[in-house]
Symmetry: C2
Subunit: 468 residues, 2 copies
Amino acid sequence: ILGPMTPLERKRLDYHPEIPSLFKNGVFQIAPAKAPHPDLRSLFPRTMDQKAFRLVPGKPHFAPPRRVGVLFSGGPAAGGHNVIAALCDGVGELIGFLNGADGLVRDEWKKLSPDVVAPYRNQGGFDLIGTGRTKIETPEQLKAAQETCRKHQLDGLVIIGGDDSNTNAAVLAEYFLEEHCSTRVIGVPKTIDGDLRSAEIELSFGFDSATKTYAEIIGNIARDAGSARKYYHFIKLMGRSASHITLECALATQPNVALIGEEGLTLPQIVHKLVDVIERRAAAGKNYGVILIPEGLAEFIPNLEGPRDPHGNLQVSQIETDQLLIGEVKKKLKLDKWFPQGHFLGYEGRCCLPTNFDAKYAYVLGCLAAMAIRDRLTGLICSVQHLRKSVEQWQCTLVPIVGLMHFEKRLGKPKPVIAKTLVDLKGEPFTSFVKKRGEWEVQDAYRHPGPIQFFGGAELTDTVPLTL
Amino acid sequence: ILGPMTPLERKRLDYHPEIPSLFKNGVFQIAPAKAPHPDLRSLFPRTMDQKAFRLVPGKPHFAPPRRVGVLFSGGPAAGGHNVIAALCDGVGELIGFLNGADGLVRDEWKKLSPDVVAPYRNQGGFDLIGTGRTKIETPEQLKAAQETCRKHQLDGLVIIGGDDSNTNAAVLAEYFLEEHCSTRVIGVPKTIDGDLRSAEIELSFGFDSATKTYAEIIGNIARDAGSARKYYHFIKLMGRSASHITLECALATQPNVALIGEEGLTLPQIVHKLVDVIERRAAAGKNYGVILIPEGLAEFIPNLEGPRDPHGNLQVSQIETDQLLIGEVKKKLKLDKWFPQGHFLGYEGRCCLPTNFDAKYAYVLGCLAAMAIRDRLTGLICSVQHLRKSVEQWQCTLVPIVGLMHFEKRLGKPKPVIAKTLVDLKGEPFTSFVKKRGEWEVQDAYRHPGPIQFFGGAELTDTVPLTL
């Protein structure tokens, strides 16, 4: 049971996300798709030669899907409820599986009628149906999932998740075809990490809201640094592997130093850099500062040891990178007084109220998923391009998930998964950061974006991520 | 040098804080003042019998003060720049002493012309002139402060600070009278902690903005708790000694448990309470939760040991209360899986953009300080009452600081200081919290206030603290 809604939550219920008019008068047209890795053929024989489908003007020729299931997978991201809202608006009956893929396997679900969905429109979190991290991989799990879909006579299943969850969507799509189960499986790209990017996927939903919330907090801490003039704030930012969140927040707040894991510095190089900046600032009379550290930094540091998860990934959230760096810097620093403060920003931004950008983007992704199921498509992920432009110009495409996969070693065995996209060291966001960051080191250039605003003009309420 | 202003910061420059019309057509009338502790007479012979002064309708008969100095003391709080803006608007020339009382002692200052002040109106932080924690106590410091004031021919000195800083303002006021220095000293109540409360001082500025920022973050974390359904978030909230911040945030966000230091529970009692709630939630299928912990909790726990500062205060920020409680709970808990996450919220909220409430309140405090100096008053602190009502109904009074003092043992010696006000266990805010908190323990009633809004209607932009 939810607590009473706050005034801002109530006001956000009145927000109507804009959608491209093609959702009223458009059809899917076959579009070229990237050729998948040839070794995937044995695993995905039925979905291997999928095409992409682009929404273009035309007269729709299928009826809306009658029954659709939806589930969240992985960490929450702002906008998730709007994917559900769009599905609720676009299909006959919608059911939500509880607590991620577990709900599908165990047949635990909730009917998502318009009444039930109404108070969640434009709201943060995944709490309407919860989420989970279970993957459907064993024969037993696959069979149970299929039985649930058959029992509910689902025309489609929408999986809202990150790289691993969309990989799982492709596995389910293939399996359902093999088993002659008529449920179509469509993936929706979700992750605050921003690492589900490619030529096909510009961005996942949730990144904008999370980074704007972190930028608010970093801006406040930076203003505190320049006011109290006493503390060095080491701010670690959530985001497994890739440093997209840190890069976005750095561009938004202009800290003294922002480490980008993808640069591949060794630990001594990083410590040398920090000590150099801190000592030059001290020489300028400034014994305070703001340093951003991506959570995934540890993955890029050669020879760093730490605990690994069952998939063989370094458990970077278990390595206190901020404390590690504080300790190493302290050893080298020739200052009498130095007051470091560690921070970790993560849970603060995954479930905030979605920005207008994420509210619209997630709603459009949901519309696209509903339309894909209407057209009996499967094994595809929703892609919206030209996100920097006005909503009417957003290009909506369904892209074969197998085309996004490569092989990664997991527990010593090659496993087909969607490639995580790292910060491109030749891309515009990073190179423009590199041009400016020298100026931020000693001469304070902190920016304070302030809290996300939902009213007061489009220049406050409808901005897009800087790294887009 | 500041970075370029963000769109929201620029928009906030256009905000004009409302002030009571008595500032245009009012005069001070003598009002009854609380009798100071009799033992203070030997320390404050010249300011001991001060009256209070209340702003009432009438025709002003003094000219605005020609030259005034201002300084920040202690931790930053949102609204500080608006006190300066009001002084800038209300006096002939304003100078700001740099980095707190150090600037006064060392004669380090900055001219605060309207041009210099302009970009700081309604902005967060204390970075225009910085702040510091130095107290002016030794004969050398007192003499140096006096010399600085004489050199600059200051009519008045405004000290913006918390309990200790306003105590210091009273000491300076007395000393300047003794030394026939004509500089008047006026205190302005600032602290996010909310412990500078009394019959005379309803609230200090900064509390509203800080608690609304923390409530935004706590609400986001609570939504994450209910979405991921996996983590117990132990959120420690800044605030030396008193639990006002925690109480305010608890009323705003309705966490599962909020500890209030003033209840005086022992460590085993606290741990028992937490274990009980966690186990009852587990029985209801809920292995997640949100627990608020006041930073000052450690001060109220009998027999807890920890480092003390030079004033003899327990350094509560050095005791990781959240980690301590997580460890103790873990020992008693009979659960296979339990994932606690510690958080500390403090620096995130001291320097945020001030809410409309703090922007107005701080501006009015500055107006009141300017008028006090105009009328050649000294040793007084600015007090605004009826803050829950409309600005026009705010009652503006100058209250003798000595009347707020009591004796506290510091390093074994009794020292006159302004009494810190703890949460009143018989007051309405606490009793209404006690009535509701049982319901929040198992049945989730989280509220998500969302980010501070500056546009979109008074119900979003102009609320007052719930504990007022």
